[in-house]
Amino acid sequence: MPHIEETDFQHPAEKEFAKLLDFYGIQWEYEPRTFPLDYNEDGSVKSAFSPDFYLPEQDLYVELTTQSPKLNNLKNRKIRQLQERYPGINVKLLNRRDIRSLSIKYDFPDPTDVNFQEGHPRDRT
């Protein structure tokens, strides 16, 4: 299991999520796999998606987003594409509302309140 302090998280919400998983002994990997979604005519990857976490015991990929619902279209579309292209892959999206709910439930600072809402730096188009 990777160590939190050795992982280069792209957003504070991801680090909080990793801490929560560690607390309950859930194994996780951070961005372990990139799924090509679309290809150019020359065969190069045109569009890809790297879910934030993989939980091996659950065989589940988890993507976090702190974007407002209005800005979630791109991420939702990528998850739909991923599910269509890789039907055996389980992926769950935790959106800003989910992350806020987790912060209330588990009493940690709301990572969606900080100035990181412009977008996810690792989004690939």
Binding site: F23, Y24, I104, D107
Partner: protein, 195 residues
């Protein structure tokens, strides 16, 4: 099932009444469903003398009512674990703060939980209890919020699916308040922001 703010019982503390937007499961509906669950468990576990295990504190209300609705011989025990609070998360991992007094090896165990949300807590505890070799291990849960589920758990006995709202009452708390309401209500969004 009522859905209006005017349905909030007058017996509820005024401070709680002010914080709740509406009731989504009233007391009568809760109790009727719990009775059905108890009857189903009694049928399934007749002659098996099961051990009911609850995790403090939220399950207290549901467990008490479920036990009374389950009219067979049974045993009951409690566990308590450290929650993901600012103090306990400094230690980095969950700790058992009160373990079972009853040995469950070879026993039929009904794990009783008030709510499943992410499944992180329940998943951890079920994994732990399986290492103790019970004859069987099933889950009875009153409320299920499947939208944020991370751990794949399928309760054998389920009371209600809950909408993706912050709800309190009948054991469910917000910062340790509201547990003692006999119904389930939705907190007002402005209360969550202000508190």
């Amino acid at each position: 099932m009522s859905t209006s703010r005017k349905d909030i019982p007058e017996t509820a503390p005024e401070a709680y009444r002010q914080a709740i937007a509406r009731v989504i499961i009233d007391e009568a509906t809760l109790q009727a469903r719990i009775s059905e669950m108890g009857e189903a468990i009694a049928r399934d576990y007749e002659g098996k003398n099961p051990v009911f295990v609850g995790v403090l504190k939220g399950v207290l209300f549901f467990l008490a009512d479920l036990l009374q609705a389950t009219s067979i011989p049974l045993a009951v025990d409690f566990m308590s674990i450290s929650s993901y609070s600012p103090s306990s998360r400094e230690q980095g991992y969950v700790r058992i703060t009160k373990d079972l007094d009853i040995c469950i090896e070879g026993r039929h165990v009904v794990f009783v939980e008030d709510i499943i949300d992410t499944g992180l807590t329940l998943g951890y505890l079920l994994k732990l209890l399986r290492t103790r070799n019970p004859a069987s291990l099933e889950v009875a849960v009153l409320f299920d919020k499947p939208s944020r589920r991370l751990i794949d758990i399928h309760p054998r006995y389920l009371g209600f699916h809950l909408p993706d709202l912050f709800v309190v009452g009948y054991g469910l708390d917000y910062r340790e308040q509201f547990r003692n309401l006999p119904f389930v209500g939705v907190l007002r969004p402005d209360f969550l922001k202000l508190s």
